[in-house]
């Protein structure tokens, strides 16, 4: 058998559930706040009490349309809600209101950046639906408790075509979907709180084949690395079955992150017939074309466009542009600093370097750090040599910790660079006097000691000495 004759490739499609960032639920006025005491944000509608009826939250529609347009989907003027019927204790009405035959949007596409280029992944559909509640299995001994705070929370489900081929591609797709959703401000995409959930459909087939193998559904992946690992494990599992001459069964699998393995949830024989039919309590959702076009016009600049513009407009290297556009918050922050400091390259250096490092140390977001104007002021102090680069980094940390401005810190702590000839000469002379040996070695040709003297002078001046002036003085005084 020649190498690769039996080679298999994976075929992967992702279903991403996105919780829309609304204050109210999809069909009632209850709050969507996460973490409130169980069953406090509930009403007759989301409890499914007899006689209660759903009404639409228009803001959820606005957000869903925005998301659909960002992924280049065709948003339909008329979409229809349907009932997906099944019994589950956390599903109060016995059905979920979702969209089925006529979804909000279809046929989109999305350019995913990969290490070796770009790949277009087609988006099959995006539809709106309500979330179910939560079954809590650890609250009541021997029983299950139900929290319906989440019931009725608005979701968009984004279904890709099976265009992904590797776990790494799936991860990149998901990360970039999340990035775009954050840019759009349609979701907070918090995977831990469940506002971004993903299921994967995975199958394998011989390389070169166009037919699709039997797929399995993979659920319960709640981190990017979980998605990648789970899909890799499932591809391995299916490949082994196929290589052994077996057949893959159509089942639903749960990813066990702790054990790093997939295990079956239910077999196809038990799978549901959801008995979809149009939701008679809601008229079709009609969005006038003019509104769709207006929403398109109001789309924020998306990451890839912004990345290209940063390269062009600010002459930033690709790497800088990529880091700075990784989140909308960071990109907005950078642009504000660049404008205030009137120096994009310095703004980029400071934001990407010292600022991100300091934020990481403190575990805070860029939005809650120093104001862009304050950082611009610091950059100006460094640029006009009032303080050195290194003192600047220290000042930044103090700004973050105290909330004081760079000027205040420099003044109050006497950190301004010293250029007074007398004072500089004093520090230089003291260093040279204390290191007569090194002076002698320097003069016999050990020129690299220049740096040592420089360092000593800076140390004794607590970083305040103007390095240029010090260098000139050293050169003069060390001259033979």
């Amino acid at each position: 058998m020649s190498a690769g004759a039996g080679a298999l490739e994976a075929v992967i499609g992702l279903e991403v559930h996105i919780q829309l960032r609304t204050e109210r639920k999809l069909f009632c006025g209850d709050s969507t706040r996460f973490g409130d005491a169980p069953n406090t944000n509930v009403c007759p509608v989301c409890l499914g009490l007899p006689g209660a009826l759903p009404t639409m939250n228009g803001h959820a529609v606005t957000l869903a349309v925005r998301a659909a347009l960002a992924f280049d989907c065709e948003v339909h003027e008329t979409s229809v809600f349907a009932r997906k019927n099944y019994f589950y204790p956390d599903l109060p009405k016995g059905y979920q209101i979702s969209q089925f035959e006529q979804p909000l949007a279809t046929t989109g596409q999305f350019r995913v950046r990969l290490p070796d280029g770009e790949k277009v992944v087609r988006v099959r559909r995006m539809h709106m639906e309500e979330d179910a509640g939560k079954s809590l299995h650890d609250r009541v001994p021997g029983g299950t408790a139900v929290d319906l705070n989440r019931a009725g929370t608005p979701l968009v489900e984004m279904v890709s075509e099976p265009d992904l081929r590797t776990p790494e591609e799936a991860r990149a797709y998901l990360q970039q979907v999340k990035q775009i959703l954050e840019y759009l401000d349609v979701s907070d995409c918090n995977m831990e709180e469940g506002s971004l959930r993903v299921d994967a459909n995975v199958s394998v087939r011989p390389v070169g084949s166009q037919a699709l193998g039997t797929k399995t559904e993979l659920k319960n992946m709640n981190s990017f690395s979980g998605v990648e690992k789970a899909i890799a494990a499932e591809v391995r599992r299916q490949s082994e079955i196929v290589a052994g001459g077996g057949r893959v069964e159509h089942i639903t699998l749960l990813w066990d992150d702790a054990r790093g393995e997939v295990r079956p949830m239910r077999s196809k024989e038990e799978s549901h017939d959801y008995r979809y039919f149009p939701e008679p309590d809601l008229p079709p959702l009609v969005i006038p074309v003019a509104e769709i076009e207006a929403a398109r016009g109001e789309l924020p600049e998306l990451p890839h466009t912004r990345r290209e513009r940063f390269g062009r407009e600010y002459a930033l290297p690709t790497y800088d542009a990529e880091v700075l556009t990784s989140t909308r918050g960071l990109a907005d922050y950078f642009e504000a600093v660049a404008r205030a400091a009137d120096d994009p390259k310095q703004a980029s250096n400071w934001v990407m370097g010292p600022l991100l490092a300091a934020l990481k140390e403190r575990g805070i977001e860029v939005g809650s750090s120093v104001a862009p104007a304050a950082l611009a002021e610091l950059i100006a102090l460094v640029r006009d040599a009032t303080i050195s680069q290194n003192v600047g980094k220290e000042v930044l940390r103090k700004m973050l910790d105290s909330g004081r401005s760079a000027k205040e810190i420099v003044e109050e702590e006497g950190l301004a660079q010293v250029r007074d000839a007398g004072q500089l000469e004093g520090w230089v002379d003291a260093v040279l006097a204390a290191h007569a040996d090194e002076v002698a070695r320097f003069r016999t040709g050990e020129k690299k000691l220049q740096g040592f003297f420089m360092g000593e002078v800076m140390k004794s001046s607590r970083g305040k000495a103007d390095p240029g002036e010090v260098a000139r003085l050293l050169a003069r005084k060390l001259a033979p």
């Binding site: 007899p50 009826l53 008995r275 008679p280 008229p283």
Partner: protein, 491 residues
């Protein structure tokens, strides 16, 4: 004890004379208790107010968010229903009473909120005296399917009052209250009104809020009113109609004066006689009385014209696919998890559902859930549900064509027979389903219908039905008022 006075009489007395505004309601309660304590109890009510509680739920109207509806009788007058005792079908959520839908599965359930129509009723000054018996979850045509025992027809207690709003129709026909709320999914207001000899109105779909009406088949359900006279039924409708933001299918239209066409008569009105509703199989007495009523209309200046609604014969089969399909989904929430009764000792989620539902639902409800589940299941959806939906639009287009031909209203029998004896059809679902043959078309098309008495055979009332284009209730009520007085004169 005498019968309840009419709505206007009560409102007038309460508004001018002062005194106890609840005296009419208390008198209604006395009559209701008496009717229940007789040798053959009427069993029109599942719950009665104790007089002390009656004022308790009275709304002030401040939280009402309706359209052009007015709860007031006018700038100076008392509210539209001041002091009027009203009976409310038990599938409408109301404070101070259980809401059981006549089902064991909801026995003792008290809703924590009120139906919009109940709030509006209260804010118009109406007093709810009790919740009326019905076919379980409004599924039936005789009120024999109640989980708590059947209601009897006050005209002949060996016979059914019709269904599913049989309790409401019986309470009005027995003179306990001048008017009552019902719900009409396939004729459940008009058919019992016909069998009990009172007036029933099913408004246009979307005219009245369904918020707080426990759903049977959402796309067909509409709250309707029953009165001893056309006027009483219309006044009650006036109080409850109007847009409700809590019901997405409620129409954002102003509410007309439903009695605005009073006194206009029927001169110049074109009344259609649909030949499919007057088939030769029709009970001859019903046929004769309806044709006589049409004769009166003609004498009074209406033009009567025979028309054809060719898809009528498919309406009942389509209805008995669509309504159970929706019902199978609407009734899924009765699962024993959150409210109502739960089977004791069930040891898994699945067992909770199965045992609760097996014990809680009656035979007819189970039959329709099974039918509906089958009609929606993956392999059969197109053959049943999809096809029934197409029939539905054909039925609606039949009506549309007739209106376009210049017909103002249609007149038909309401029920193919007068009230039948208790137990006669309980073992034969299909014959029971045919009781709705003249009424389901209005629900499928969303148009309004009104049934009023046109006479009696052997003491058993016979009803005739006006059908009107959507939103044309004033025209329909105007014609019914005219026919009512023509028939009165002829007696």
């Amino acid at each position: 004890m005498s019968e309840s006075p009419g709505v206007r009489e009560i409102v007038g007395a309460v508004g001018t004379a002062g005194g106890d505004p609840l005296r009419f309601a208390n008198a209604a309660l006395d009559r209701a208790r008496r009717a229940e304590s007789e040798d053959t109890p009427l069993h029109a009510f599942l719950a009665l107010a104790d007089s002390a509680a009656m004022g308790g739920g009275a709304a002030t109207g401040d939280d009402l968010d309706g359209g052009g509806r007015s709860g007031k009788g006018g700038p100076k007058g008392p509210p539209l229903l001041a002091g009027v005792p009203v009976a409310v079908k038990d599938n409408l959520c109301a404070f101070d009473f259980p809401t059981t839908c006549a089902s064991r599965i909801l026995e003792g359930y008290v809703s924590p909120y009120e139906a919009t129509v109940v709030r509006r009723l209260r804010s118009a000054g109406g007093v709810i005296v009790g919740k009326t018996n019905m076919d379980e979850f409004a599924m039936g045509s005789s009120t024999e399917n109640s989980g708590f025992g059947p209601t009897r027809n006050p005209r002949d207690r060996s016979r059914v009052p019709g269904g599913s709003s049989g309790g409401s129709a019986a309470a009005v026909a027995a003179g306990i209250v001048p008017c009552a709320l019902g719900s009409d999914t396939g004729g459940s207001v008009r058919q019992p009104a016909s069998l009990c000899g009172v007036v029933g109105i099913k408004p246009t779909y979307g005219r009245v809020s369904r918020y707080g009406l426990v759903a049977y088949a959402s796309s067909l359900d509409q709250v309707g009113t029953i009165g001893r006279t056309v006027e009483d039924a219309a006044l009650l409708l006036q109080a409850i109609a109007g847009h409700d933001p809590r019901d997405a299918t409620s129409a954002p239209l102003p509410v007309p004066d439903f009695l605005g066409a009073r006194g206009r008569g029927v001169r110049g009105l074109t009344v259609g006689l649909p030949r499919e509703y007057f088939a030769k199989e029709l009970d001859p007495a019903v046929q004769r009385l309806c044709r006589e009523a049409l004769g009166r209309l003609e004498e009074a200046g209406a033009v009567v014209r025979e028309v054809s609604l060719p898809h009528t014969k498919f309406a009942v089969p389509a209805y008995y696919i669509l309504a159970p399909a929706e019902a199978s989904s609407n009734l899924a929430r009765f699962d024993g998890v959150r409210y109502g009764s739960r089977a004791p000792g069930a040891d898994s989620a699945r067992a909770v559902y199965e045992e609760t539902r097996t014990r809680g639902f009656g035979a007819e409800v189970v039959r329709r859930i099974m039918l509906g589940t089958f009609a929606l299941s993956a392999g059969y959806y197109e053959a049943y549900y999809g096809r029934a939906q197409r029939v539905r639009s054909l039925v609606a287009s039949d009506f549309g064509r007739v209106w376009a031909e210049g017909v103002d209203l249609l007149f038909t029998p309401t029920s193919p027979t007068p009230a039948f004896p208790l137990g006669e059809r309980t073992d034969d679902p299909v014959s029971m389903y045919l009781s709705d043959i003249f009424t389901v078309t209005a629900n499928l098309a969303g148009i309004p219908g009104l049934s009023l008495p046109v006479g009696a055979v052997d003491g058993l009332p016979v009803g005739g039905q006006f059908l009107a284009p959507m939103w044309e209730e004033p025209k329909m009520i105007g014609a019914a008022l005219a026919l009512e007085s023509l028939l009165e004169e002829a007696r």
